[in-house]
Each structure stands twice: as structure tokens, then as C-alpha cells.
């Protein structure tokens, strides 16, 4: 067990180093500051500035950049190892394929979550300095669910990287993310108004596709709605855990059968 955990920790550290060495995170952070700083000091005419617009833009940027970093890191993890053939020395050591897969998953997830934590820290500072709101419960819930969302997308992307090219994987997962975030709530209603073939497709999507909109609490955060009950948060996290388990199990089966 100790050996297993040490292997996972080593693989995780490698992915973290990869993220910070490529400087993707710093580029995104600088871009965020460049876009948010003018918005933060912008005031419409009047004595009371408009906070909700700035918060909405900030959260949209956080979501876009976090997903971009997550997909970029995860989609290139295994293909890069296959191309440069560094997978062989890794497997030559007594690291089993499932262990390697899970280690890569943890590495990509930790790297994405570190970027996410940085973004939310900047957002919390923005909320605190501009509005005097420090450490609200709804912000914590939003961060928790956003992290769960990244865990799900990491698992899906890792599964895709085993049988798709990097560009195809990135494109499909990005389409899935955007599609579910914008239309996931309305799939049932859309299906009800369609004829049988598209209705079947939409209902299949509704039941099988990952409902990433469950993890999106921006509306509550921006418009000062009360926090969600912790029981509901628990249900969503359970859903995320189930989906991740399914994706990683399928990825493990594919990786086990893959000829290197």
C-alpha cells in the first residue's frame, strides 16, 4: 500500500512540474489580471458601482481558463508518453498499468485544481476588496462543485486520450462541456418537442452524458441567492464520483488491452 501511494505521489508531482514548467498557468493568470483589472475599476455613472457584471465576467473567465488548462494538461498526458516512448521505462519499473493511469489522473487533477484554487483566490480577493464580502458559504460551495466538475472532465479526457488523437479528444470534450453547460438543463424539454429519432438521441444524452451544469453555481453566486443545502452538494459529489469511477474503469480496461 505504501509503495502504491508513493508511486501515485511521484506521478502526481511529475504532472504538477509539467504544468508550471510550461508556464501555461502564468499566461492565463496574466490574461485574467489584464482583463479583470480594468473591469474592477470601471464604474458606470453613479455612486454605487455595478458588481454583478464584473463578478459574472470574472467567473466566466475562471470557468473558461480552468477548463482550458484542464483539457490541455489531461489530453496530452498519455499521448506524449506514447510518442516519446517514455511509457516503457515507467512500465518496466514495477508500476502496473492501472496504477500508472490513476497516477496520471491524480497528477492532472491536482495540477488543474491548483490553478483553480489560484483563480478562486483572486476572485475572493476581488469580492472582499470591492464588496467587503469575505469567505461566503456560496463561494465555498461554488469552488467545491467546480473542483468536482474538473475531476469529471479529467476522467473523461483521460478516457478519450486512449483511443482518440489529441486534437479530436480536445474538440469533442470541449463540445461536450460547452453543450452540457449551456443546454444540459433543457434536454428533457427539448426532447419533448421533437419527433422520435431526435427525441431518442436527446433523451440518451440526458441520461448518459455528464451533467456538468450540476456543478455550475454561478447564477447563485452572482445574484446573491442563498447557498444550496449540503445534502444536495453531497448528491452532486456522489454523481461525480460515480461518473469518474465509470470513466476510469473503462480507461483502465482500454489501457490494459492497449498494445504499446
Amino acid at each position: 500500500m505504501k509503495l502504491y501511494l508513493r508511486q501515485i505521489r511521484t506521478l502526481t508531482n511529475l504532472s504538477l512540474l509539467e504544468l508550471y514548467r510550461r508556464k501555461d498557468l502564468w499566461v492565463v493568470l496574466i490574461l485574467s489580471v489584464v482583463i479583470l483589472a480594468p473591469l474592477s475599476v470601471m464604474t458606470t455613472t453613479g455612486t454605487t458601482p455595478a458588481y454583478r457584471t464584473v463578478n459574472e465576467v470574472a467567473l466566466l473567465l475562471i470557468w473558461i481558463f480552468a477548463i482550458t488548462i484542464n483539457l490541455n494538461i489531461t489530453a496530452r498526458l498519455l499521448p506524449a508518453e506514447f510518442e516519446s516512448r517514455t511509457i516503457y521505462p515507467l512500465l518496466a519499473k514495477p508500476i502496473r498499468r492501472p496504477t500508472l493511469l490513476f497516477g496520471k489522473y491524480c497528477g492532472a487533477l491536482v495540477a488543474s485544481l491548483s490553478a483553480l484554487a489560484l483563480f478562486y483566490l483572486v476572485l475572493a480577493l476581488l469580492l472582499g476588496i470591492r464588496q467587503g464580502v469575505w469567505g461566503s458559504l456560496i463561494l465555498l460551495q461554488a469552488l467545491l462543485l467546480h473542483a468536482a466538475c474538473l475531476a469529471v472532465t479529467t476522467a473523461i479526457t483521460l478516457l478519450g486520450s486512449l483511443f482518440l488523437s489529441v486534437s479530436a479528444n480536445l474538440t469533442l470534450v470541449a463540445l461536450l462541456v460547452v453543450g452540457m453547460l449551456t443546454n444540459g438543463q433543457q434536454l428533457c424539454q427539448l426532447a419533448a418537442t421533437q419527433s422520435i429519432p431526435p427525441r431518442t438521441l436527446l433523451l440518451s444524452l440526458h441520461w448518459l452524458a455528464p451533467h456538468l451544469e450540476f456543478f455550475d453555481l454561478r447564477q447563485r453566486l452572482i445574484h446573491d441567492w442563498p447557498p444550496v443545502s449540503w445534502l444536495l452538494i453531497g448528491y452532486v459529489l456522489l454523481y461525480a464520483a460515480g461518473y469518474i469511477t465509470i470513466c476510469l474503469t473503462l480507461a483502465g480496461i482500454l489501457f490494459q488491452r492497449k498494445r504499446l
Binding site: 455595478a50 424539454q189 444550496v228
Partner: protein, 272 residues
């Protein structure tokens, strides 16, 4: 110095010399039309869609971030109390009952379903989206009127509201609706009778009743403008002008409510 630097220097000199020559070209011979908004050149007709999207976003903000299909008119008086939409079209009812569909159940509880209205002091939050809607499409009259309404009624800033409408009138010189909105603000909030009278007269002059599609809206504008003109004329004891306005209303809008109200006003004025 190497050759590329010489070439770069020559290119810069050439650009600067051509630039000074371009300014000497008569405007009529320039390839583009001067004075056009850069957004109009880049986006074309798409800016109307974008402007409409910004206006819808402002409406979402008014309702606590929730898109709503219908809302009672009275509900706008209830500043903070959340309420559900008054009706959902039958075609939008999902086939699956929420109780048998755990995903829909989760969505309904995670995402806000009812909406509430912003209180007056929070109406500031609408301004960025309204300003964006006005800037993106200067011909979006609804955007300008909504901005003026928000500034005057919700934020109690009538001077800024009149500035917005005057700016809108520059881009939409034939719009009677904008003139009427301006006139009402000048009269109601600023008590500026002379300018209000002028604006009501402008609205009356710009009304077009020959289009069946817009007849209802235009007749409402004309009726209100004539009513206010008659009312303001009576305020200054100018009976002949008031009768002239009533005559115009009776000839163009005989069954309009405003015509009847103006008649009643004149009768009360003339009664012993």
C-alpha cells in the same frame, strides 16, 4: 547597419509620406464612408442581435439572473419577494415527471427556478448591460427607453435619463416614441414645461399612422402627445390651442381613450 533595417526605414518613410497625401484626398474619393461606427462596419446586422442579447441579459439581471417567460405587471412592484412565473407554455412541459427523473430533480433544486426583482437601489446592476445594448446598436429604441426608465424611475437620475434619450434621438430622428418618453420625463420629473411641450409637439409631428403593423403603437403615442399638449395648453389658459389639439385628436383618433380624456378635460375647464 544591415539591409533589413534600411528597408524597414524606407517603408516607414513611405508610409508617413503616403499618409500625408491621403489626408489631401477629397472625402468623396475615399474608399470608405466617413463617420460610420466601427461596430457597424465590423458586425453589420449582427449588432442588432447582440444588442438584443444585452437587453435580454439586463432583463435577466432584473429578475435575479433567471430567464422568465411571463411576469405579471404587478410583480414589478414587489421588489424582493420571489415568485414563480405565472404561466409556462404547454409545449415546454417536460414529458418526464421530475420525481421520476433524478437529473431534472437535481437541476431544479440546484438552479434557481423562481425569480425576484431587483430593488431600486440595486438597479445600478442593470446599467452596464443597458449601456452595452445602446452602444452596440444605436437604433435599438427599446434599449434606450429601458435605460431611461431605469435611470429615471429606479435610480432617480432624470437628468441622465434625458441625456440618454437626446442621444438616442440624434441616431433615430424619426422616432416618435423617443420624443414622447423624453417629454414625459421632462414634465414628470424635471417640471420643465417649455421643453416638455416642445418634445410632445415633436412626438405628435413624427407619428406615422399609415403602417397597419405599427398603427396601435403610433396611435397610442399620438393620443398621449395630444392629451398632454392640450393639458399643458389649458395650464397656460390657452383655450384655442387646447381646442385645436382636441380637434386634431377627434379627426385622427376618434375612438382613442386619450381623445375622450382630453374632451373631458376641456369640458371641465369650460364648465362654470
Amino acid at each position: 547597419m544591415s539591409r533589413p533595417f534600411y528597408i524597414l526605414g524606407l517603408a516607414i518613410l513611405l508610409t508617413l509620406s503616403l499618409q500625408s497625401r491621403l489626408f489631401q484626398v477629397p472625402p468623396a474619393q475615399l474608399p470608405q464612408l466617413g463617420g460610420h461606427n466601427i461596430l457597424e462596419m465590423l458586425l453589420g446586422e449582427t449588432r442588432q442581435l447582440i444588442s438584443h442579447a444585452f437587453l435580454e441579459k439586463a432583463d435577466d439581471y432584473l429578475h435575479g439572473g433567471v430567464k422568465h417567460t411571463t411576469c405579471d405587471g404587478d410583480a414589478h412592484d414587489h421588489a424582493d419577494a420571489p415568485h414563480a412565473p405565472t404561466s409556462v407554455p404547454h409545449t415546454q412541459m417536460p414529458r418526464h415527471s421530475p420525481h421520476r427523473d433524478p437529473w431534472s430533480w437535481l437541476n431544479q433544486h440546484l438552479h434557481v427556478q423562481e425569480h425576484r426583482h431587483l430593488s431600486q437601489h440595486q438597479a445600478q446592476e442593470l446599467l452596464p448591460w443597458l449601456q452595452a445594448a445602446c452602444y452596440t446598436d444605436p437604433h435599438n429604441i427599446a434599449a434606450f427607453e429601458t435605460t431611461a426608465y431605469t435611470l429615471e424611475r429606479m435610480l432617480h437620475r432624470p437628468h441622465e435619463a434625458t441625456n440618454v434619450l437626446q442621444h438616442a434621438i440624434q441616431y433615430n430622428p424619426t422616432s416618435a416614441s423617443l420624443e414622447l418618453s423624453l417629454a414625459e420625463i421632462l414634465l414628470r420629473s424635471l417640471k420643465d414645461i417649455p421643453n416638455a411641450t416642445q418634445a410632445f409637439a415633436n412626438a405628435n409631428r413624427k407619428v406615422q399612422l399609415n403602417n397597419p403593423k405599427t398603427y396601435d403603437e403610433q396611435s397610442m403615442i399620438k393620443g398621449r402627445a395630444l392629451f398632454y399638449l392640450g393639458h399643458l395648453a389649458l395650464q397656460t389658459h390657452d383655450l384655442s390651442s387646447a381646442q385645436r389639439f382636441l380637434h386634431e385628436a377627434q379627426s385622427t383618433l376618434p375612438r382613442n381613450v386619450a381623445t375622450r380624456d382630453l374632451q373631458r378635460l376641456l369640458d371641465q375647464y369650460q364648465a362654470p
